[in-house]
């Protein structure tokens, strides 16, 4: 009698390609990217989804997702996604952007796509630094944080204060879901997976703009080991950027 086939508890989703990512060892981009791919797979959207990759570490994300992808100019992913969604409303459209892309050069596109209530899902990776270009200060860099361009720590008098994107967008009427999650522990990864799925479900129901902000680490540019970077994230980023649901149009139901 043939032995019973062992059930697989965890394996690579088919919504990801076989390519090895360009992310540094221990970068949480990889986890978030997996969660997005698994969410699409689980909701049965993996074949019809179209993603928009940003400029930044995730610039070649089109190599890693099995679904169709478009690569947008720096910060313009929500504008490209708007066009895609209006032309192909039956497809699920998502953008995958970092903080330099979404909160700096792309802030206008982000805010206007949100206030128009474009029916797209934005996955926003916040690691408080420009990763790909070598660790410069980003709009989300914490006060006092040392980066390549703030070697004495971010001085809020000269460089301004960090932007809390979820809080900012939560005041706009077009936003259906604004939620901040982290992926620093296995339980938080599961919560993040749920939030990302919710974003795609809201888009499927046509509720409007959904943004999931994922607090992430940058071990290379923060100059820490991957595990130490997670501790730094918990100690410094979470108090400034508290995870939670900032807007949910279905919250009252």
């Amino acid at each position: 009698m043939a032995a019973e086939k062992s059930p697989v508890l965890f394996e690579r989703t088919s919504a990801l390609t076989d390519k090895v990512t360009n992310y540094c060892p221990g970068c949480l981009h990889g986890i978030t990217q997996r969660l997005v791919a698994e969410s699409l797979d689980r909701l049965g959207l993996a074949d019809t989804a179209v993603g928009v990759s940003p400029v930044g570490c995730a610039v070649i994300a089109y190599e890693f997702y099995s679904c169709d992808m478009v690569q947008a100019a720096h910060g313009r992913a929500p504008a490209v996604a708007t066009g895609l969604k209006r032309a192909r409303p039956e497809n699920t459209i998502f953008t995958y952007q970092g903080d330099g892309d979404l909160a700096s050069i792309g802030m206008a596109e982000t805010i206007h796509a949100a206030t128009r209530g474009e029916n797209i899902t934005v996955i926003f990776i916040n690691n408080a630094i420009y990763g790909m270009t070598g660790g410069q200060m980003a709009p989300t860099t914490l006060p006092g944080q040392i980066t390549q361009t703030s070697p004495y720590g971010r001085d809020v008098k000269a460089a301004g204060n960090p932007i809390r994107v979820c809080e900012l967008l939560s005041s706009l009427d077009g936003v259906a879901l604004a939620q901040r999650v982290t992926v620093d522990t296995p339980s938080n990864v599961r919560k993040a997976a749920k939030a990302i799925r919710k974003g795609f479900e809201y888009q499927r129901e046509g509720l409007g703009f959904s943004i999931i902000e994922v607090l992430s680490s940058c071990p290379t540019n923060w100059g820490m080991t991957p595990y130490k970077a997670l501790e730094w994230l918990r100690e410094n980023m979470i108090p400034y950027y508290p995870p939670g649901v900032y807007k949910d149009v279905k919250a009252g139901e």
């Binding site: 059930p7 090895v20 060892p25 986890i31 296995p186």
Partner: protein, 68 residues
């Protein structure tokens, strides 16, 4: 018995699976060097694996496959 397979083509040796394994059975394999030049992770004692999936959940490179 559990089966934990690390695909060394994907593993970049970040060690997050080692840090998050509650049983302490994930370790870096210092005898192996991957094509990218990293020491990959491996499971040293499958009998102790509780199938909590922490290693696979925290693996940024989706290199770990777990079977019952």
């Amino acid at each position: 018995m559990a089966k934990v397979t690390v695909d060394i083509e994907y593993c970049k040796g970040c060690g997050l699976c080692v840090d998050f394994c509650p049983e302490g059975i994930m370790q870096m394999d210092n005898d192996v060097i991957t094509q990218k030049g990293y020491h990959p992770a491996h499971c040293v004692d499958l009998d102790k694996c509780t199938l909590c999936l922490n290693c696979a959940t925290m693996c940024p490179d989706v290199a770990i496959r777990i079977e019952r």
